[in-house]
């Protein structure tokens, strides 16, 4: 496994697009954090006294600002890095070199997944730092950090990881980098909102079982947090199983 991890690490770190996409993600999250901080400043705030009452404190909730950039739109840069894991392999025929070097397919599949998750986690943590620094530089006052803030940040990180794995698996299943990136984006931005709006009378339960909607529910918290998380996880695991089985069975 260590050799496969080294292989994948060298693969992902030896192309410029990885760094460009990472930088774009950090810039996007920083920018969104700044805009959200400016908009929300003075509009509401948590006094941090445990009452949960939102008051105009003149400061902004840190959690809201920091995870603002972790939506499915700005996350496209991170998911593209994830999609490139298999996308570049199929686009340039490298998969045949890779699999002739690692004929145990589950091995390279696992190595790729691990490295992608590590990158996503690292970028997420960096994006938090960027958002924090941006807010500080902008001179925006921040509410006290509460346990709910940490839970918000944790949920946002898990959402980003799950969303990236969706792109990773869709690329593997379709063997197409563009589809791997665009399908989740279209689902989140177009298909699911339209389906939810159009079918709200006939299938009111539908949105909660759609992947990105479920992920957003989990991300946003609230009463449906648990169900959203389970549904989102089921989509990620389900596509993961399909991806792995296809990868193992089909010709390179």
């Amino acid at each position: 496994m260590s050799a496969a991890l080294v292989y994948e690490w060298r693969r992902i770190t030896s192309i410029r697009s990885t760094y460009v996409l990472a930088a774009l993600f950090l810039v996007a999250t920083g920018l969104v954090a700044y805009l959200v901080a400016q908009v929300t400043q003075g509009s509401f705030g948590d006094p941090g006294d445990g009452s949960g009452e939102m008051i105009d404190s003149g400061s902004v909730p840190l959690g809201v600002v920091m995870i603002a950039g972790t939506n499915f739109l700005s996350a496209i840069f991170v998911t593209t890095i994830a999609a490139q894991s298999f996308g570049h392999e199929y686009r340039y025929g490298l998969i045949r070199l890779t699999l002739s070097e690692y004929p145990r397919r589950w091995l390279i599949f696992t190595a790729k997944l691990i490295v992608v998750v590590l990158w996503v986690v690292a970028l997420y943590l960096l994006s938090m730092l960027v958002a924090f620094v941006v807010v500080k530089i902008a001179g925006v006052a921040i509410d006290p950090v509460t346990s709910e803030t940490w839970l918000q940040l944790l949920r946002a990180g898990l959402f980003l990881i799950g969303y990236s794995i969706l792109a990773f698996m869709l690329t593997l299943i379709t063997r197409n980098l563009v589809l791997g990136v665009v399908i989740p984006l279209l689902l989140g931005a177009v298909v699911e909102p339209l389906a939810s709006a159009g079918l709200v009378d006939r299938l009111p339960w539908l949105p909660q079982y759609l992947p990105i909607s479920a992920g957003q529910t989990f991300l946003n918290g609230g009463d449906d947090l648990g169900r959203g998380g389970v549904v989102f996880l089921a989509w990620v695991v389900g596509l993961g199983v399909i991806g792995l089985v296809q990868f193992a069975r089909r010709d390179a």
């Binding site: 050799a3 496969a4 080294v6 292989y7 060298r10 693969r11 030896s14 192309i15 410029r16 697009s17 570049h88 340039y92 025929g93 490298l94 045949r96 070199l97 699999l99 002739s100 070097e101 690692y102 004929p103 145990r104 069975r249 089909r250 010709d251 390179a252």
Partner: protein
């Protein structure tokens, strides 16, 4: 290391691409892998590497490839000149491909120099010519010094000097006790390089023998005899059961005997022989004869029937 290919088969829909194919690649030799377009050569190589799923097995020194560690010390393959990311430098590509065998930076540099890419080691290969892509592919294959090389059309796009270099390199590689299986459409080159041949057509084995045995099958192996009396000599030769065809009024093409026997027959008949030449068929002659019935994608027209400029009017 002996490579034992056992009953490989592969079907795409209703098309049987490879059918019960068995052969052996032996160490110390270059084995040429020949077949017309679409005969299943590339599919066979992919099956041998486990890239495609089919039936049958390929054993490398008695074990499947997945049971070897590290794999790249066992077999190095080069299947296509464009299997690289266009933005990843040649050096980074080799560093990545060397990870499984723990190949050092020094070895990467050594291989880059060996294939003549040291000057472009840090360039992106997106702009490489086909020949440079072939060199990078070959560098990838030999990086971990594998005991077996599987090369699919490695000479495509190479200039004559590079082809000669490739031939010398593979000859020395095989002489060090390694096994080399190489496919090529450059039959004249293959004749100079390979000492054993595996020939397939429509996915089936049609020859697995030494180069000399294969070439000797051709009907173009004959003896040219120019004599003072070709008509009488032809009668004498036919009487001895030899095949005779007139090439010119004075010259005969004789099959079924060597120069010594033909000379003796002519001498016994009192016919003066003015020229006696042993003509050997080329690999191309033998290959074309053997596979003439097995081409899936043969050009249909007579190239000589092409209208000259202006004839089409």
């Amino acid at each position: 290391m002996i490579v034992d290919v056992q009953s490989l088969s592969k079907t795409y829909g209703s098309v049987q691409a490879v059918h019960e194919l068995s052969f052996r690649v032996s160490p110390g030799h270059i084995t040429g892998f020949l077949g017309p377009n679409g005969s299943g050569k590339s599919t066979t190589m992919r099956l041998m590497l486990g890239l495609d799923h089919g039936t049958g097995t390929t054993l490398y020194e008695g074990k499947k490839l997945v049971d070897h560690r590290p794999v790249t010390k066992v077999v190095g393959s080069h299947l296509d000149a464009k299997f690289f990311h266009p933005k990843r430098t040649a050096r980074a590509h080799l560093r990545m491909m060397g990870s499984e065998a723990g190949v050092s930076r020094a070895r990467v540099d050594e291989v880059l120099e060996l294939v003549g890419l040291q000057g472009v080691a840090d360039k992106r290969p997106g702009g490489f010519s086909l020949g440079m892509g072939q060199r990078l592919g070959l560098a990838t294959a030999i990086l971990a010094e594998p005991k077996v090389l599987l090369l699919d059309e490695p000479a495509n796009g190479l200039d004559p000097q590079s082809i000669q270099w490739l031939r010398d390199f593979l000859t020395h590689y095989a002489q060090r006790g390694n096994s080399v299986l190489v496919s090529s459409h450059l039959l004249s080159e293959m004749q100079l390089m390979a000492d054993h041949l595996v020939v397939i057509a429509r996915g089936r084995l049609i020859a697995d023998e030494s180069m000399s045995q294969f070439v000797s099958r051709s009907t173009k192996n004959d003896v040219l005899v120019r004599s003072s009396d070709a008509v009488r000599l032809a009668t004498e030769l036919r009487a001895q059961g030899l095949g005779v065809a007139a090439e010119t009024p004075e010259a005969l093409a004789v099959t079924g005997a060597g120069t010594d026997r033909i000379g003796d027959i002519a001498f016994a008949a009192g016919i003066a022989v003015r020229e006696l030449v042993n003509r050997q068929a080329s690999l191309e002659d033998a290959f074309l004869e053997l596979t003439s019935e097995s081409q899936d994608f043969a050009a249909g027209g007579d190239p000589g029937a092409m209208p000259a400029d202006g004839d089409a009017r």
